[in-house]
């Protein structure tokens, strides 16, 4: 088990969460995995039992009991759990830090507040304060891309003409990797970026040195 979990580690692993959203989703995953394993086993046992002598059960036992009853109970449980997690991790109006991620073929331009609160621009590295909720406004220059930092949260598409919002948060200072998840042409595989979560009391020098952010194309 330990070995297995160690095998799940990695800078892009959703199973090594480093933020509340990714943590909730990972928990949801482990729950669903256990349930799925149990159901697969159950079907296997039912199939194995069919090789015994013929046993007559009324059709409704199978179609209504198992087919409708059992599946509806399981599915409702999963659905409610999913809704609950989904609502928990949504962006809300709580004074979160706002940053911007603009995707293009093939790279990322970010805008984030520096120590004084002015927006500064960086290429391929996004800086956010650790331990605080951050809303990323995701936009695209040319084709559809997707913003994804697996250890922190799910992904959201960057679509020309649209401003999508994603709530991320890093538990602790550290570096996380991010990538473009939506196929965007020849440079797709290399369209990576870094996310630096810094101690809010000690913003990194890179932010102080960064130029002020210009307005993006769709403003």
């Amino acid at each position: 088990m330990v070995l297995l979990l160690a095998g799940c580690d990695g800078p892009l692993s959703t199973l090594a969460p480093a933020g509340p959203a990714a943590g909730d989703i990972a928990l949801l995953w482990w729950g669903m995995l256990i349930g799925s394993a149990a159901i697969t086993l159950l079907v296997g046992v039912l199939l194995a039992l069919s090789f015994g002598p013929p046993r007559v059960r009324p059709a409704r036992y199978w179609t209504h009991g198992w087919g409708l009853g059992f599946s509806l109970v399981v599915l409702t449980t999963v659905l409610v759990a999913g809704l609950w997690v989904g609502e928990r991790i949504l962006p809300r109006d709580d004074g979160a830090v706002e940053v911007r991620a603009h995707a293009y073929q093939w790279g990322w331009r970010f805008a984030q507040p520096d120590a004084e609160g002015g927006m500064v621009e960086t290429d391929d590295t996004l800086y956010i304060p650790a331990g605080r909720p951050v809303d990323v406004i995701v936009t695209a220059e040319d084709v559809i891309h997707a913003f994804w930092v697996p250890q922190l949260a799910g992904k959201v598409d960057a679509i020309p003409g649209r401003r999508n919002l994603l709530r991320i948060e890093a538990d602790r200072p550290g570096t996380h990797e991010g990538l473009c998840a939506e196929f965007c042409g020849l440079g797709h595989a290399a369209m990576r970026f870094e996310l630096v979560a810094y101690d809010a009391d000690a913003p990194p020098d890179a932010l102080a040195d960064a130029p002020p952010a210009e307005e993006f194309a769709d403003d």
Partner: protein, 851 residues
């Protein structure tokens, strides 16, 4: 006696069980007589003129297997590239073409044609008839499939294959970011292939509804037919949105009309909605026929009957409806509000319920019976294991927050292969093992099939089980290198190694099929002691399936019914009139209604498909003016095609059994052709509805609206739109006058009036396009106005063509007495054209007739 009274008399005299048996004849004599009417022509000519469902069904399946092999080779190239993190095996451009083609081939050139081939081959045999409703259409579908597929394959060989992923998201697939011919190959090639899907859907629907053996009620027909009915209806409704999307994108790429381009009022999400509106039902279109095979095979392998027939039928109907309500689950990350996503999440989860009902009904069937582990049953077990896991990961992906993590990763790649190989390929292999003796008349070579099964099973799970983890560890789809992620190496290497094991398994499977067909010993007539009509014939099946057609009392004897039928004791024995005759029965009751004469061998389908192919190639080459002669050729061939069905003389009623005499279809208005036309209009109506969805979606959602002012003269515009609708409306009146005058042969004048009315409508439309409508390249609103006008224009043009055909028929004296000629079909079309023109005209007026 008028035809109506013949029909009524037949109806009352033919209640189930009351049909007397014909006197037995010598089976060999009947066989010779039938074979003369039904067999393909000899030699190579027979290959290009064949319209037989047996020949074409097999050809569809064989061609699909070839494409499966090509797609499989592409898959191996992908796995070879990904086996190491910095694979230098393929460059990125080629890699992108290969994964795009792998997906496109497996979906459009393997899965769909394979299920079509199975249905085309099996359905008439299972339903107890001699061929599908429209044999020439079967052949046309095959040639369109082959030519469209070849265009894609040649593009791949030429290095200009599509490279934007199999769902071709805009704007990446638009002219700015994919300037070459690559994307056009996909749009035009796949749409060409889709003609065969629509053709198959129409005739499968009509055959199931109207050609079941007398006494085989809709509520009692074999489950395979129910599954195929669900599938074909889904195809009729599911494919039009994709066809519309492809046409719009091709118009945007070729002529610059914006639909998906943000700057000019389009929206890339319109493509995604239309694509997945097709793309999700597509999954069930593929799964349902496979499930139909399982529902046929499992009870036979367990020496029992299926459990829960009614519940399974209800589950099929539920799947058909539900599957159109969950396309958005492919779009959970595009930025739709969470509560709206929750609705689609619930619908996606709910679709698992009817699937579960079927799975448990099959398990219950196994409990009830005594499962015997023959080769088909191995593949059924492979199905259960694989598909249950794929279904469960499907439920996971339907859960919105988890989807946000897993979307576009290898987790999805693993899931979709579990569903498609579990839910389609394993059942198809079970079907192959089960029906190969029926198809070839030969038993298999022992041992090879089991080896192939185990190799495929181990290879498959070895490839894809760990791939779930690869995805959860962050590996996105569609990347060719991963130099910075050593943690993915062992996972990918394992997948690649087992991928090659799976390939070996499929090669063994193919070898098994070839050896069985070539060297297998003779199969007994009923190797599985199955009850279906598909076994109530000589093996391999003769060209006409049944020397006499099964009726009440002969529907579930399996091979035991074969002898009586071969001796002509059933209905409509032999081919004494030298024609291809089948029985047409009532939709629900399956009472015999009339005899339909089917067309014989002809190369016309090949010619028509060739003409369409020329049109596609001219579009691909950018020689847009040369598409016009190609279209004229298409129209001329369709005219010839329709002439082939025209009858200049009355046909005598046919005695199909002692005391049961039925009219021939030319004397009826409710022909197979009319049912087929209704199916086609269902698809056409869906296309129109999808277009209206596009108008609404862009008007409400897209940025860049409101559009620039209209510049045309509003009064002229309103007048022309009114003239257009009025012209088509007068056509509606004219065709009805024609039907009223049909009895005395007076349809000439109404047909001429109808032609004139449609030409007036076309003139108004041409004037509207030339003088009032704004430049369609200016803004999406103007482009949509252009498309709406074009849609109405195409329908008016076809209506004019049908009026002209009716005029020609009336002048030849083919519309007289009970013979309505093309009038019923024209009436349907004219009504449809008028109604859609009214709606389109109202939209144009609502947007403003002019500036």
């Amino acid at each position: 006696m008028t035809d109506a009274t013949i029909g009524a008399a037949a109806g009352t005299g033919a209640a189930a069980g009351e049909i007397a048996a014909n006197a037995p004849q010598r089976a060999l004599g009947l066989h010779r007589e039938l074979d003369r009417a039904w067999a393909n022509a000899p030699g190579w000519r027979g290959q290009i003129t064949a319209v037989s469902h047996t020949t074409l069904g097999l050809r569809f399946m064989a061609t699909a297997l070839v494409f499966f092999a090509i797609g499989g080779i592409l898959a191996m190239l992908i796995r070879a590239q990904l086996a190491t993190p910095e694979g230098a095996f393929l460059d990125t451009e080629i890699y992108n073409q290969i994964f795009t083609m792998h997906g496109s081939i497996m979906m459009f050139l393997f899965a769909i044609p394979m299920l079509e081939g199975l249905a085309i081959y099996m359905l008439p045999k299972i339903l107890g008839t001699r061929d599908l409703a429209f044999p020439r259409l079967t052949a046309l579908g095959y040639w369109c499939y082959l030519f469209g597929g070849l265009i894609l394959i040649f593009a791949l060989l030429g290095g200009v294959a599509p490279h934007d992923g199999w769902f071709m998201y805009t704007p990446l697939s638009g002219a700015n970011y994919s300037p070459g011919v690559n994307a056009d190959v996909w749009l035009l090639g796949v749409t060409f292939v889709e003609i065969s899907a629509l053709a198959a859907a129409v005739e499968i629907t009509v055959t199931i509804l109207r050609q079941r053996a007398p006494g085989m009620k809709l509520t009692e027909m074999p489950l395979f037919a129910w599954y195929m009915l669900g599938t074909s209806v889904m195809m009729l409704v599911g494919f039009p949105p994709l066809i519309l999307a492809s046409v719009l994108l091709e118009i945007e790429r070729a002529f610059g009309w914006p639909f998906f381009e943000v700057a000019r009022g389009g929206d890339p999400l319109l493509w995604q909605h239309l694509f997945w509106l097709f793309g999700h039902p597509e999954v069930y279109i593929i799964f349902l026929p496979a499930a139909g095979a399982l529902s046929t095979i499992i009870p036979v392998m367990c020496r029992t009957t299926i459990l829960g027939y009614g519940a399974i039928v209800a589950a099929i109907v539920a799947l058909v409806f539900l599957s159109f309500g969950l396309w958005v689950h492919h779009m959970f990350t595009v930025g739709i509000p969470h509560m709206a996503l929750a609705f689609f999440s619930a619908a996606s989860v709910l679709v698992a319920v009817p699937t579960a009902v079927q799975v448990f009904a099959w398990i219950g069937t196994m409990w009830k019976g005594r499962p015997e582990m023959h080769l088909p049953m191995y593949h059924v077990m492979g199905f259960f294991l694989t598909f249950v896991m794929g279904g469960l990961t499907g439920v996971m992906l339907a859960i919105v927050p988890f989807n946000w993590q897993a979307h576009d990763t290898h987790f999805v790649v693993a899931h979709l292969h579990y569903v498609l190989i579990g839910g389609f390929v394993f059942p198809m292999m079970a079907a192959a093992a089960y029906w190969m003796p029926q198809i070839t008349g030969r038993a298999r070579i022992k041992g090879l099939g089991e080896t192939a099964f185990w190799t495929i099973l181990i290879g498959f799970h070895g490839t894809f089980f760990l791939m779930h983890l690869t995805g959860l560890m962050g590996m996105p789809r569609r990347i060719d290198v991963y130099p910075d992620n050593p943690e993915w190496i062992w996972l990918n290497l394992t997948s690649s190694l087992f991928g090659f094991v799976m390939t070996i398994g499929f090669a063994l499977f193919a070898l098994d099929l070839v050896l069985q067909a070539w060297l297998g010993p003779r199969s007994p007539r009923d190797p599985w002691r199955a009850p279906g009509l598909d076994w109530a014939m000589r093996l391999p099946p003769p060209s006409y399936n049944f020397a006499s057609l099964p009726g009440p009392g002969r529907l579930d004897g399996g091979a035991q019914a074969a002898q009586g039928l071969a001796r002509g004791e059933g209905l409509l024995p032999g081919a004494p009139r030298g024609r291809r005759e089948v029985l047409v029965t009532g939709v629900g009751s399956a009472r015999p209604e009339f005899v339909a004469i089917l067309p014989g061998n002809t190369a016309l389908p090949l010619g028509l498909a060739g003409a369409i192919g020329v049109f596609v190639l001219m579009m691909l080459s950018g020689l847009y003016w040369l598409t016009l002669p190609a279209l004229a050729l298409v129209a001329a061939l369709i005219w010839v095609w329709a002439r082939g069905m025209a009858r200049g003389r009355d046909a005598a009623p046919v005695e199909v059994a002692p005391g049961l005499t039925l009219p021939v279809h030319t004397h009826r208005q409710d022909t197979l052709g009319r049912t087929g036309a209704v199916c086609l209009l269902l698809a056409d109506g869906t296309l129109f509805a999808a277009l209206l969805f596009g108008v609404g979606f862009l008007s409400v959602v897209a940025l860049g609206w409101p559009p620039p002012e209209l510049t045309g003269d509003p009064e002229l515009g309103a007048g022309l739109i009114a003239g257009l609708v009025a012209g088509l409306g007068l056509g509606v009146v004219a065709v009805r006058l024609g039907l009223r005058a049909q009895g005395r042969g007076g349809a000439v004048l109404p047909a001429a009036a109808g032609l004139l009315a449609n030409l007036v409508a076309l003139a108004c439309l041409g004037w509207l396009a030339a003088a009032v409508l704004d430049d369609p390249t200016r803004h999406a609103r103007d482009a949509l106005r252009g498309v709406l006008t074009g849609y109405v224009g195409l329908h008016a043009l076809i209506a004019a063509g049908m009026a002209a055909f009716a005029l020609d028929q009336a002048r030849r004296g083919e519309i007289v007495g009970a013979r309505a000629g093309c009038l019923p079909a024209w009436r349907l079309w004219q009504d449809f054209a008028a109604v859609t023109a009214l709606i389109a005209g109202a939209i144009l007026l609502a947007q403003g007739a002019g500036g």
